[in-house]
Amino acid sequence: MGLGFFVGVFGVLILSHAAYSTIQYRSLLKIMEEEFSGPPMNVVAELLLGLVLCMWAGLTVPGQFLSIHPDSDDNRIVSLPANLDFMIFNHRGKVFASEMDMKLKH
């Protein structure tokens, strides 16, 4: 959590810095009375870096990925639950009396 979280915060900070520099650049253009042709290089670089950092943080911080393959060990069903609602008690176990003398002591 620690590292990924701080990387994510850093990525958001970079993105907000990019926004701030864009606004500044626009006002600079207004003063110099030039046409807007495209964002400056440093803003583009910041945007790309922020994107990568935020994406990395977003993929690592929430947790591990789970397998979606039906045949992976996490998803492959090897046995059905015993139908406990339909459990019946007169089975062979009756013959084998339990060897321990179990008692609920209170």
Partner: protein, 301 residues
């Protein structure tokens, strides 16, 4: 549903608890969650927790769940005294509870006094006619008494109301299969596959039933369902692989007279045999010659 990871986790915990490594409560929780039937272990380890006041008090409100679990396990192991004591404790804590009333009726059932148990269940049903568990107990009771046709009747009535209950469909399928009424069992498995298409074991059972029914068409369908089992399990289900081999052999034999039938692809058969050989080589090298002779005899016939 018990997946591979969960199964190995249960087995590891059971080993640990049996060897006195602690973790009994985690084991009992897992058993309850996965609904596996290991009554002897549950009884032993559950009682050891319940008999230790210090451990019991750390559980908090979960203590009562443990009492219930141990009571059912004790009935399954026929240590009725323990079950009776557990139910008594629960009765004291929760008088008028229907859940405890159900446990009491189950105790009557375990004792074998069917008439009294039935009376208890029907009085519970009068209070709440839509209690699913009690309906299921009625079915189980009929089955325990050997009254299989009665159980089927109850179960069919139950399934008319609660059609989405797949556990009940499975029980009905198993009862039909035990009576060799394979057509009806096949219908139940179809229902199960419809409701849970990703559970490979239903595909496998359906294929088993179809193969048992016999006839060219059924066996061809069975082969398809064995194949879907292989697909869902990634080829780790040995029974499905054997099923494909057997179906191919049976189809070859049945279609011998009729040449107009389209040729079955031989690849599936040989691939299944290959996968089987690989698995045997890895896990049971001693049995490999046996497997090879079996497969050979299947190919010839």
């Amino acid at each position: 549903m018990v997946t591979k990871t969960e199964e190995s986790q249960v087995n590891r915990l059971e080993n640990q608890v049996d060897n006195g490594g602690g973790g009994a409560w985690e084991y009992l929780c897992l058993v309850r969650k996965l609904k596996v039937r290991r009554s002897d272990k549950v009884l032993k380890h559950g009682l050891s927790i319940l008999n230790d006041p210090k451990k019991r008090s750390t559980l908090g409100p979960d203590e009562w769940t443990l009492y219930e679990q141990v009571a059912v396990a004790a009935m399954d192991c026929h240590t009725l005294d323990v079950a009776k004591d557990c139910i008594k404790v629960l009765q004291k804590k929760f008088p008028e509870s229907k859940r405890v009333g159900r446990l009491e009726a189950m105790l009557l059932e375990a004792k074998g006094s069917w008439a009294e148990a039935e009376k208890a269940y029907s009085s519970l049903l009068e209070e709440n006619p839509l209690d699913q568990v009690i309906h299921k107990r009625m079915v189980a009771m009929a089955r325990a008494q050997g009254n299989i046709s009665g159980a089927i009747e109850w179960l069919n009535k139950y399934l008319e109301i609660f059609m989405a209950d797949h556990d009940a469909w499975r029980e009905l399928a198993e009862i039909y299969a035990s009576l060799q009424m394979y057509k009806q069992a096949a219908f139940c498995y179809e229902e199960l596959i419809l409701s849970q298409p990703t559970v490979s074991l239903y595909h496998l059972s359906y294929a088993d039933v179809l193969y048992t029914l016999g006839g060219l068409e059924n066996i061809q369908t069975a082969k398809k369902y064995y194949s879907s089992t292989v697909e869902l399990t990634g080829g780790k289900n040995i029974r499905a692989l054997f099923g494909i081999c057997l179906c191919s052999a049976a189809i070859a034999q049945l279609a011998k007279g009729r040449s107009k039938e389209e040729k079955e692809s031989p690849e599936l058969h040989s691939l299944a045999a290959l996968a089987l050989e690989k698995d045997y080589k890895q896990r049971a090298p001693g049995k490999l010659p046996l497997l090879i002779t079996t497969l050979k005899s299947l190919k010839i016939s």
